[in-house]
Amino acid sequence: MANLTTCLTLFFLCYGLCSAVYEDQVGKFDWRQQYVGKVLFAHFDSHSQAAKKLILATDKNIVASLNSRTGELFWRHVDKVGPEGHIDTLLFHGQDAVVMAGNGRLLRSWESNIGALNWEMVLDTGSFQAAILAGTQDSVKFVAVLKKAVLSLHYLSNGHQKWVETLPDSDTVQYQAVYSSGGSQLFVLGVVPYSHLSIIAFNIEDGEIMSQRSVAAPWVSKVQARCGVVDQGVLLCVDATTLSLYMLPLNSEEPAELQQVPLQSLDLELASGYQPVLLTTQPNPARPPLAQFFLQLGPDHHVLLQLSDGLISPLRDFQPAFLVSFATAGEKTVAAVLSPKNETVSAKAGGVVAETVHPFLHFFLMHCFIVLLLDHAYDLQASSVSLYSADSGRRLLDTTVTVHLDPNGGKPEKLYVHAFLKKDDSVGYRLLVQMEDHTLTFLQQPGRVVWSREEALADVVTMEMVDLPLTGTQAELEGEFGKKADGLAAMVLKRLSSQLILLQAWIAHLWKLFYDARKPRSLVKNEVTIETLARDEFNLQKMIVMVTASGKLFGIDSKSGTVLWKHYLHDVQPNSVFKLMVQRTTAHFPHPPQCTLLIKDKETGLATLHVFNPIFGKKSHVTPPALSRPVLQSLLLPLMDQDYSKVLLLIDDEYKVTAFPSTKHVLQQLQEMASSIFFFLVDSSQGRLSGFRLRKARELSLTDLSTELIWEVVIPPEVQKIVAVKGKRASEHVHSQGRVMGDRSVLYKYLNPNLLAVVTESVDTHQERSFVGVFLIDGITGRIIHEAVQRKARGPIHLVHSENWVVYEYWNAKSRRNEFSVLELFEGTELYNSTVFSSLDRPHLPQVLQQSYIFPSSISTMEATLTEKGITSRHLLVGLPSGAILSLPKMFLDPRRPEVASEQSREENLIPYAPEMPIRTEWFINYNQSVSRVKGIYTAPSGLESTCLVVAYGLDIFQTRVYPSKQFDVLKDDYDYVLISSVLFGLFFATMISKRLAQVKLLNRAWR
């Protein structure tokens, strides 16, 4: 009895724990990286000297805080996807980060230290225009929110609404800006395009309109970036058509005219066709802004100007300067310039500067400014940043640093400066530079890059895993087989030499092991660099090639998550579609591996190819073919050219085929095999699926590859539209041809490699009439193998197609729940042709079995595990919206699960049918490492049959290994080598001794 109980306990313990991760295994085989996306707003926490926080708001609807010393995340809040969670603005004051989200719907205040929510206010929906912090008597107390027709004021401390006022004439006047200088007035600026400006002053205490006036401005079109308030409430606007600056004091009672100051009178010239940008600064929201401001006159031309006594005068001219920024440290405001290293900043207005400095200002505040000067011509290799005093335009001593930005990262887009006062009262600063490729780089004053974050990885579009190359010695041995035989003696010598090299490498390896063993554990660090990359014994370490939406490619080491190479494609349109293909794997030494990225513009359909080496990220010297027509379809053939690269066929909209590589050898092969090269096209707008075949060239022109239409299936788009078409993965292996049933007969699987699963959704979305259609179509013959309709179902559909099964998930509109359905195809108990599968010769339709289950959660994405030989049982990896990744055994999704368990079904290990699919927490392969907004899961086989490598990507990237059938081919970590070997030796010696004894005994007996 007790024995049985122990056995049972042991069994449950094993079953429960083996699939989960032990505490000491956390982070051993997996890693996670968290990202935030492209930064829209950034603020430095500058309230204390030792502050090391950065508050960010990004285009991925995220508010986050970064450690400015290391670049790590302190906290991160992920809001809803899409316009609902879009962050309109981020204001920062003291400890509070005030965020406006969802087009003026939600006003939230976050505590910046720990990321806790201070308060949240739900406002009326309305088009958000602007929000500012407002204050009275030198203290910031309010948040003013301007919408299309409403101005509201909220307390900064608790979010409560102080007052709300509707704006007059909001149907004609576009209110675009709000301004406060710490006084009792709050100004709202409205525009009637090409007519006049409307200025309304509200009392900050009760919201009463104190004054309202309109000023004729026939040139005005918008306020943002064109107008700003400087000095003691003087509105400044710049206009490109009249080439003038306009000034208007806001405080004056009488309806004054806008004072025009032509740019020419200031000796300034606007770059042709450039819209000038005005940049003002208000260091403290409760005080008036500075009298100095920047005017951008061209893409690389900035001018610092000053308003004093009603006169505008230039302080300093910066050309070339791409980005400028003001920063305040205590009472000082500074500005910095980043200029190309070997070109000095032209100081044209230097002479003027000294004269125009206002003595009062000089005395009262020392304002400085920061200008970032950059130049394309110098390839961004080295640029320098300098600090300038804001009120004199003079350069501050010892503030120039040389900055080395990644030359590959594109232009710098935004600059955030944090200036602080050093002990000796001089100004020090830190810089946050955002590049065109979404890289965030944090720099400290000696020109040192403190950290950089690759935020492009927050939006991975597609990825592949590539085997690492062999080590030099392995490659040497491999190379021996590749070479042509040149005589027996030479071959023997070659073999001997390579064996010697192997021996040498082995001894070196042993020596290294011995040497490392003496050192303490912590010192032995295997730094992964691009030079030390080599395949490990079981091929568990691979190169992850990731393609991001911004057009930046990354090579990431799968073991550690280190970015080993990156490559930014400059000319990628933002709405491009990517397809990554591995044309040549690492297996063909000495030919380098080769990946091809197909970049297709969504609108024009025009495509380009980027061919590169996936291990080093270098662009290949192979020139891809120019594609002059939109590409409809691409397919990678198993056919290889002489250099072992697989042939890629691209079909354009005239159904002409371009081959890459297109050597004569390849074209000849293609002509020979033309009648067996088929492909299909899907036009979901017309519901048309059509099959094509390569046509043999009649005349002997090899280059002209044309196609012919061979089949057509049209699913009327008026009833249902095609939402997904999925074939099987080409790299998939299926080990067993059939399933052994309880009565010892074999049920053969229908393993059609050309099978396509086509899923449609009904156009009618009424819950009773909506349906999801599933079609299994042979991609060669166009034969519809199976047609099923899931009634009362709706999308989104997630689909996995592998082996002889299709699993899809849908929303049951009637029962309001998510459901899984599995289809399995069997040929029956006899195979039609067991040696080879041909779509052209399978006259009998397979048996189709189907079963459905209730799934207690919605899902984000789904993928099946993949192993080297396909012996290991399969699991489904399901990404849940909660951030968990569930490893669901395929055993639970088996249409042969019986209603009632019988002797035979038990023999076959079939689980009795239960309508609900369980979610067990130990099935979460990422334990507490949630992957936010998981978008895709990639699986790759490793050298171990039991192990499958998994990468989940979305906002975060998570890599791990899964063992669907447990680690049957690996000894456990705590395997007792000592016990086993001592028992072995013990037995050996016991045998020896007993043998000796027996001999003695025999001898003695013989003597007797």
Partner: protein
């Protein structure tokens, strides 16, 4: 000379039964819609379709019958030539609705095509299976053709006897209803099991209820032995 092999099939999801054979001419019962079935086999593989037969659709249930004419002398010769160069034999039907009861609101726009290797058609002696696929509304979405057997062995075929007339099986395939989760049956089964358990109270007893006397006895025995043991004696005995 008009001989025709007509198969009448009622669409039954998942179960395609070959129906009775009627030897009627095309004019036997012309009600409903007649749809042409065209085929093409050319040496240069450029499709030039011409009439092979016609499909007659009638009744509420999509019932289809096929009438087709035998191949002419030239066609037979051509088919054999096409088979020799491994050409394709294509068929096509216009896109129509099989439900003739409904008013035909859409004019046939375009065709649905399928193909089979000409050699396999020749070697199977023109015995083929044509399947018409419809969507939920009964609209034709695809056609497929296979020959039985489907292989090309390169066998010689006596043209006069074997290639004269088609031996066609015609199927209509409509989508089947995919099963949903079967909760009702499961609950029924659970209830049955519960009932079974309820009938057999012996089974329902818990572990303690079943073996209380053993556990109690064991506990009493343990207590008795531990209290009876002199505290010092135990150490002695072990040493």
């Amino acid at each position: 000379m008009l001989t025709a092999a007509v198969f009448l099939i009622h669409a039954q999801p998942g179960n395609y039964n070959t129906a009775k054979r009627t030897a009627d001419g095309p004019d036997a019962e012309v009600t409903g819609l007649t749809v042409p079935l065209e085929h093409s086999f050319e040496l240069d593989d450029v499709p030039r379709f011409h009439l092979r037969g016609s499909l007659q659709l009638r009744g509420r249930e999509p019932a289809v019958s096929l009438w087709q004419s035998p191949l002419t002398e030239e066609e037979r010769a051509l088919l054999k030539e096409v088979a020799a160069v491994d050409g394709l034999y294509r068929v096509r039907v216009p896109r129509v609705s099989l439900q003739t009861e409904r008013p035909v609101d859409r004019q046939p726009e375009g065709y649905l095509t399928a193909f089979v290797r000409a050699c396999s058609l020749v070697e199977s002696h023109l015995s083929d299976v044509i399947t018409l696929h419809t969507d939920v509304t009964g609209y034709l979405i695809g056609i497929s053709i296979v020959t039985v057997p489907g292989m090309c062995w390169g066998a010689e075929v006596e043209d006069d006897v074997d290639l004269e007339s088609f031996n066609t099986t015609l199927n209509v395939m409509a989508p089947v209803n995919a099963p949903g989760p079967e909760t009702a049956q499961f609950i029924e089964r659970m209830e049955q099991e519960m009932e079974k358990k309820g009938k057999n109270p012996q089974e329902q007893k818990s572990f303690f209820a079943k073996y209380w006397y053993l556990i109690l006895g064991g506990a009493v025995f343990l207590m008795a032995t531990s209290s009876a043991q002199p505290p010092a004696g135990g150490g002695r005995e072990q040493s």
